[in-house]
Symmetry: C3
Subunit: 311 residues, 3 copies
């Protein structure tokens, strides 16, 4: 089952994969969903390191559960320990140590390119659990899988991506992921200050994707099948005053959603702050809790493919 | 073995249980003691979340060991990560995420009612590992089990509960737990500023318990079979000056204990600070280390009953 | 296989062992290396506590992996939780709790003698994972094992120990470890302010070891088979100004090493800061990454011997 696209491969950017790769991953995730809570022992000889130099409880827990459900042992670097490592020794030595100690490194880092750099040093696979402002490939795998499960397809749908497109890496990575499929159209919806950066626009143009930038969610909402919302990435603003100027600048309410298609689904990588009204949570529009749930089977599938184990 | 009182049930307050429930739990704990260090695999398909929004090493470790000894996988939120979650998203979303990721949530929280609220949101069982000033049901299960093991019975004994009865939830919960049995008498012993709050007194009156409030430990010590001591809950005082006025206001010494019954046993939920003299530790009065040890089999019994597994 | 020198024994100082003890340990470590990534279940009924009252990611992770690879469950106290315990209750109570909860305590502590004191309290074995300025026995076991693997012997070689010999416990412990064998000569190389303390010199004299103190690495480098480098232990300087006077006072470069024997190997307990030039990392001199890797099989061997289990 050693699928060439995953076996012992570094997982750095969603753009490194093809739709066929992802479809195989999704089939594998389906299997894990069928198995329910079952615990496997296929990775019982493996140690997986979760090195979170930037906090992310949700991603960390989801990787930890996925790893343990496959029988792997997990070691974790997080919080002040991560900070102190980052201060005390160079990143190269840290990665070498973790590579020596374990069979794969799941890395979260504030700096763009950290995962790629780590992958160059480490002999074992490195999985990017989010670095910088652009890449979060496993989140995108989960997002796309969720859409596949909800709509049966990722192609031919109209997408809105709403929010902080300037600093939000989950959004950037999601947009990149869509380019592997055939979206009908992608609307990039954001306040002017939070517009998608040039590199994102360039990828869309290069891939010939039908897209449009707008500041007004109400205008485009009626066309959407999927609305992907992200929070304002406060922690990545270089200037706190700039953050103050945009905070609360968008908010998804039931009233707004009622102007769209009945089948419209709202996704969000979570945690959400105040960009989605609580009333939406219990409506049929809300797909973000099921999306969170899919984090575990999709990451189990990825790890199983990465280590080339049959289940 | 799906005992209706425990199977898939939220564990919020000791008052939700009957003495029959607890007796069944104790029988189950006996079994785990007989098995010694043995590790089981009955919960190997389960993930248990330890979400400690307020620190508590002892309770956390004891739940972690109990869970792992039954074969469960454990994920932990603690320390600054817990603080950052508490700041970053609403509690409802956090509980939903944890409920999605795991099969049970063990919750510690500063706010009264947090566990109950979480239980309303979560589909899976929530176990209150201490919230607010009143409830810590699993600690009480351990306390009562310890008394049962030491005296063969919980009924008919005379109890003293000494210390910060105003803020100490272990004490409040212990007093509530005693009301499920037939204590001969309960003495509530505290400095005037730390008297038991009205709600505790009300429960004792409603249940027709023979009790007496006093500020003087020496007067009542000769009558006691069990002296339950708690530390002053410094972290729950709204005013630090108030804490200064009561610190060091009670202290259990060997000299004091020598005025009581030979069979007198001193319990303490630990950690203790300076309210018990170190000389007491190695005396036959001290039961708090065995009490700590019982934390593991009692919590194993609770988890086994909760998930309805045979051992 | 209950080797009397290890079975249920506290591991406090490398000086408590004989070369025969260590040779048996090394044979055992060889076995684990042969087994590769294999996970064992020999300690599946055991709980091992990692209590790191002073941070040390590398040692912690290496013990955690070694424990889990043998099937043990691991509980960890680290970071702010460790700090808060250290503040909140006396050390004796903490050790009693951990001893009650688990089958062995791996202890890291800032204070000299902490491990020995803990061992007097605990019924179960205590392993010193570094305390104070002198003792770090498991690091030394790894260091000596590395030399054995690289040179086939520990006897008859010429050693240089370079760096902060005043505060560096890995260096002190390594020097003590060498006294169990027959080194040809040991050079203690350090800036004047960081000379080895009297107690180290005394051990060397008492054991009749051929050694020499020097401040000049260049003079002695040509004679060395092994150069053991440690960083300046900034965190142990009572006076920050004193640290400023010695920082950067030694640095190992490829240029320097080229003046020594071709077979010269550089060891370092890691993390390194700037005392070894990055160019050295990829040279044949560098043995510190393989040394780090050996941490796992050596600690697995120690735990297996400690619990008297066959593999």
């Amino acid at each position: 089952m050693r699928h060439k696209s995953f076996y012992r491969r570094d997982i750095i950017s969603i753009l490194d994969f093809t739709r066929e790769d992802l479809e195989q991953l999704f089939e594998y995730a389906d299997k894990f969903i069928e198995y329910g809570d079952k615990k496997f022992s296929v990775l019982s000889n493996k140690v997986i390191t979760l090195a979170f130099f930037e906090p992310s409880t949700r991603t960390r827990l989801s990787f930890e559960i996925a790893s343990k459900k496959l029988g792997a042992d997990v070691i974790t670097i997080v919080g002040e320990e991560a900070v102190s490592i980052a201060k005390g020794e160079n990143f190269t030595d840290t990665i070498r140590m973790l590579d020596t100690f374990s069979n794969a490194i799941v890395l979260r880092h504030r700096f763009e390119g950290a995962a790629k750099y780590a992958a160059e040093i480490a002999e074992n696979p490195v999985i990017n659990a989010g670095d910088g402002r652009q890449h979060h490939p496993t989140q995108t795998m989960i997002d796309l899988y969720t859409i596949k499960k909800l709509f049966g397809t990722i192609d031919g749908l109209t997408y809105g991506v709403l929010g902080d497109l300037r600093y939000g890496r989950a959004a950037a990575s999601f947009i990149y992921g869509l380019t592997l499929f055939n979206p009908k159209k992608i609307y990039l919806i954001s306040p002017p200050l939070l517009r998608a950066r040039e590199e994102i626009i360039k990828v869309l143009n290069d891939k010939g994707i039908n897209f449009e930038e707008t500041t007004n969610i109400e205008d485009v909402l009626p066309y959407l099948d999927v609305l992907y919302v992200i929070r304002i990435q406060k922690e990545r603003f270089p200037d706190p005053m700039e953050y103050e100027r945009v905070r609360g600048s968008y908010r998804v309410t039931l009233d707004l959603l009622s102007k769209g298609r009945k089948e419209l689904k709202v996704l969000h990588p979570l945690p959400k702050v105040d960009e989605i009204d609580h009333d939406v949570d219990s409506s049929p529009y809300a797909a973000y809790f099921i999306q969170a749930r899919f984090g575990i089977p999709v990451r189990m599938a990825l790890l199983a493919l990465l280590f080339g184990v049959e289940i």
